[in-house]
Amino acid sequence: MSFKDNLNRTPFAPVLAGVIFIGAYGLVVEDPFLLTLGGYTCALALFALSINLMLGGVGEVPLGQSLFFGLGAYGVGIGMKKFGLSYEGGLLAGAVVAATLSLAIGNLTLRLTGAYFSIVSWGLASVAVVVALNMEHFTGGGMGLFALPPMYLTGLDLSQPVLYFYLAAAMLTGAVVLLVAVRDSRFGYALESVRQNRHLASALGIDVFRQRLKAFVLSAVLAAVAGALSVPYTQIVTHESLGIGITIDALLMVLLGGVRWLYGPILGALVFSVVPFYLELDVNVRMFVFSVAIILIMMLVPNGLHQCAQALVSRLKGVRNVRI
């Protein structure tokens, strides 16, 4: 095997497969529940991608990523209710605010690493929750913002389950294409080298802090878009969208799907949002069973579900991956 064969010449093939699947799903499925759930799953997957940009890309656990998800949601909510913006306007406003805020926050917090970064970012999200609760006239306080006007994206009505699904899926696809490009770019390589060994990276001329900051801002924008995409589903914007719960869900998706794999979070989101709905058990039994299943999965395939797929592929190819 020559050295050049390492080069992945078809990085966009999985994207194409995804697009075909999305198209087919929208055509075949008519049930509004499955369609809206599909759309919401896309929003969650997008959020999971943003988390994985931090987790797999930067190597930090962004426990406070929901801050940006919530900003996206509140962007739509406040934009539409208080400023009379369109849905697109709200989405854009949320993304811009998220980008600006993440720049400021990143400048302060990205000097921290490990648990310290995680907890501080969680702290910021928690402060945001308190702010959302207390700034009642702006955020609707504990009640949140509801009775939002009809939402249109590129002229299409998001209250139609099919359209919501397609648009959310399109946004997700766009994000994936962007992330593939990031992975293969100078920025992607720099980021990866920073994650693996920041001392060496900086000795090679890479501005460690800047790469981390760039990734952080990008992930914040993705999270904000995901948050905005969740609003047509929930129809109400509350402080829950800023809270740790949603981050934890997305983190579980990422880890379940696999951190080292770009599509892992999407797989995780699929498993995560669909399976629990079909476990026909008493809710608490279901929660127990699901949690235990997650633990077992992590015991058996510590690198996430994609490890199964990988092992299968290499088994088929007759190569055995060696790791100790």
Binding site: F3, K4, N6, L7, V177, L178, A181, V182, D184, S185, R186, F187, G188, Y189, A190, E192, S193, Q196, N197, H199, L200, A201, S202, A203, L204, G205, I206, D207, V208, I324
Partner: protein, 277 residues
Amino acid sequence: MYVSDVVKIAEHARVVRPASSLAVAVAVAASAVTKRYGGIAALKGIDLAIEEGEIFGIIGPNGAGKSTLFDVLCGIVQPTSGEVQLFGRSISGMQPHEVARLGVARSFQRTAVFAEASVSQNLCFAWHRMSGHSVLGRLFHSRHWHRDQEACQDRARHILEITGLWEDRNRSASVLAYGVQRRLAVGVALMTDPEILFLDEPAAGMDDHDSAGFVDLIRRVAPGRTVVLVEHDMTVIRALCHRCLAMADGRPLVSGEPLDVLQHPEVVEAYLGAEDA
């Protein structure tokens, strides 16, 4: 007695300094550099002038401050007082990556490689900083991007060959034997095509064959660069260096031609021990 390659090469092929330069420019200059850590003075006043194109060795007992000096020269550690200039530019206040961008690469005493990546990926990481495509470039200039990738691979292949890592190119860096990792660390530094190369005990842990190969390698890549190396292996120092500096206890002890330095009684006493003299 087994005569190592190093010695053999050393006998009939001493590197000759580029003679063309009458007024040689100074690549690395340090003046009155000190470094204190609380009560510990790691450097107590170092003056240094390393000329462009020189291969310069630094030796000294453990804890003499060699690695600390490297850290100061590369901007990783800010000196307590004194100044460092690279190519006549002061680096005080510069971040390590800014110093690196002046054309400086270094290897570390504790082997530093990208552990999760394969050997060839390790090299690509080093290359991409300078020549890789931007995100938009990746999206919209796919052809260029592919050409870039090939350029990267060509250079990586070259480095793999001269460092003798070709066989190991697809192995993960973390599973390499220690000596092989040391070679990779040198390869990664070389991948950036640096003008100044700082190597901290590069041959430590290499077997005789590899360190001979290493000497060869440095000779090959040295023209047009300045190489500064710390070593405890005197064969390497003798074979490679044009000049060298012996340090002890954070101070310069002796400097000059390697053979002179190595025979200097103070160096023998503090560093080499009687027998090797």
